[in-house]
Amino acid sequence: MTSHVNPPVITTAARTNDPFAGAVLKDIANEQLRFHVAGLNFFYGAKQSLFDVNLEIPANCITALIGPSGCGKSTFLRTLNRMQETVRHTRVEGTVLLDGQDIFDMDVVRLRRRVGMVFQRPNPFPKSIFENVAYGLRINGFRGKLADRVEHSLHRAALWDEVKDVLHKSAYALSGGQQQRLCIARALAVDPEVLLLDEPCSALDPISTAKIEELMLQLRSACTVVIVTHNMQQAARVSDVAAFLLEGRVVECRPTAQLFTTPSDPRTEAYITGRFG
């Protein structure tokens, strides 16, 4: 079921004069903000795909980004770990703060160690299962017992029991769902503070999906999770906070239960009730 965390209180007061600036979270008590995004605009060449996005992502919660395809949720997710820089002709304006630090002022390598990512299609390396998980540790100069860390990550990804005897085998020998959990283990190995998941279950069968959702709920206590999903039931099942995006803008962002039962914006309601998207 959903969150056991005190839901943050939301104010719908706009921060700027722009009526489309979206709602802003205000935290209470012991809940921190992991990400603070202000005025984010994203351009691919001359085409703009994110318009003045303001969003705050609370720590140790699962935040779901929902919306129809093409609304910019994946684009937005990828700016959180500066993955847009791997593509030419992209341009980003605005501020993104991670725990108060500007991510564009940080060393991008260190940023990506703190903010991990799992992709839509599993993309394990053509290496053994062990080497896949160990990869992030090796390149970041981990000094310590590699095998222990690998085992720990595979446990966290709920994959250890299934692969503990075949760690040397190629990652491609695993099923799709297992490969995706391997990618999660790989991302977890470097102990990120945030885990970004870009539609992680869209290529998987229902059983693997259920396993990964269970995983996310367990990870939440140690890790902030941001998940992009086009599956509203999934968002309703696992997330604490949901943000609805439409055509590159944040329409609203509220605790999941509230967004789904009493959406404040008619467009949100239209989307959730299936009238489009």
Partner: protein, 327 residues
Amino acid sequence: MASHPQIVDGRGRLRSPAAFLRRLSNGDAIAHFITLTFAATILLITSLLVYELWINSRLPRHAFGWRFLFTSVWDPVFGHFGALPFVYGTLVTSAVALIIAVPLGLGAAIFLAEMAPRGLSDILAFLIELLAAVPSVIYGLLGIFIVVPLVRDYVGPFLKSTLGFLPLFRGPCYGVGFLTAGIILAVMIIPFIISVSREVLLSVPPDQREASLSLGATRWEATWKAVVPFARTGILGSIFLALARALGETMAVTMVIGNDPKISASLLAPGYSIAAVIANEFTEASGDLYLQSLIELGLVLFLLTFILNGLARILIAATETKGMASE
């Protein structure tokens, strides 16, 4: 918590010296630089090649100018050098090679691309690719001991008795000569014609073939009247590529052409080619003019193949884009 918007460039980099240094330290810029340097080396080597060819042929260029290409005297003793016999020999042997290889190669390519079942086609294509891997000197060896006697004892006399009225087949036949060189060149360039033409034919969109067949054409008619014309430019490109290969071919030709710097109308007569004369006389060239004349021949050969290869690539690319556009 900073609240003013920061402008970052397309790569998300802050324009500040600290950020730049950080970028440099993570090695990507160094890797970019190193790989770029190696890539630039290729440019350097090729430029140097052209430069060396040019600069080391200045003596004959100044002495003979353009006449070099049209003089047929090759007299090392008196220092008169003309490229005509060699250009003639190169062109004639290549022409003979094309006349033999193009029909055979095209026919084989059509068989492999259109008529044969895919499995058989793949196996045969594989074997023919192996043919292209045989070193030139081995072709020459077989040329000397198989083709030369064959031409001397059977093909030559046969041609003289049947077509001897033509100036092409007059005169004594020693076995070595333009015809023999042409035959061997033909065998050497057939694999190129086959593999490139086959690829080109296979890249013709299937709807061309299907449209023809659905109108009641036989397999051959669909191929010859629809597919091949569509792939015409690409096939022409493959012929140009093969020709470029034939022009530059050295060892096999040297071993069977007879090494006689004369221009003869008869294919049965011995002759010379650009590559062959360079191979034979380079190490014995006495004097700078002699050596540099040979180098100038190399320059001529370079330019010939350069132009042909360029044309070939344009033609082949044209067919491939034609295929994509009509999809």
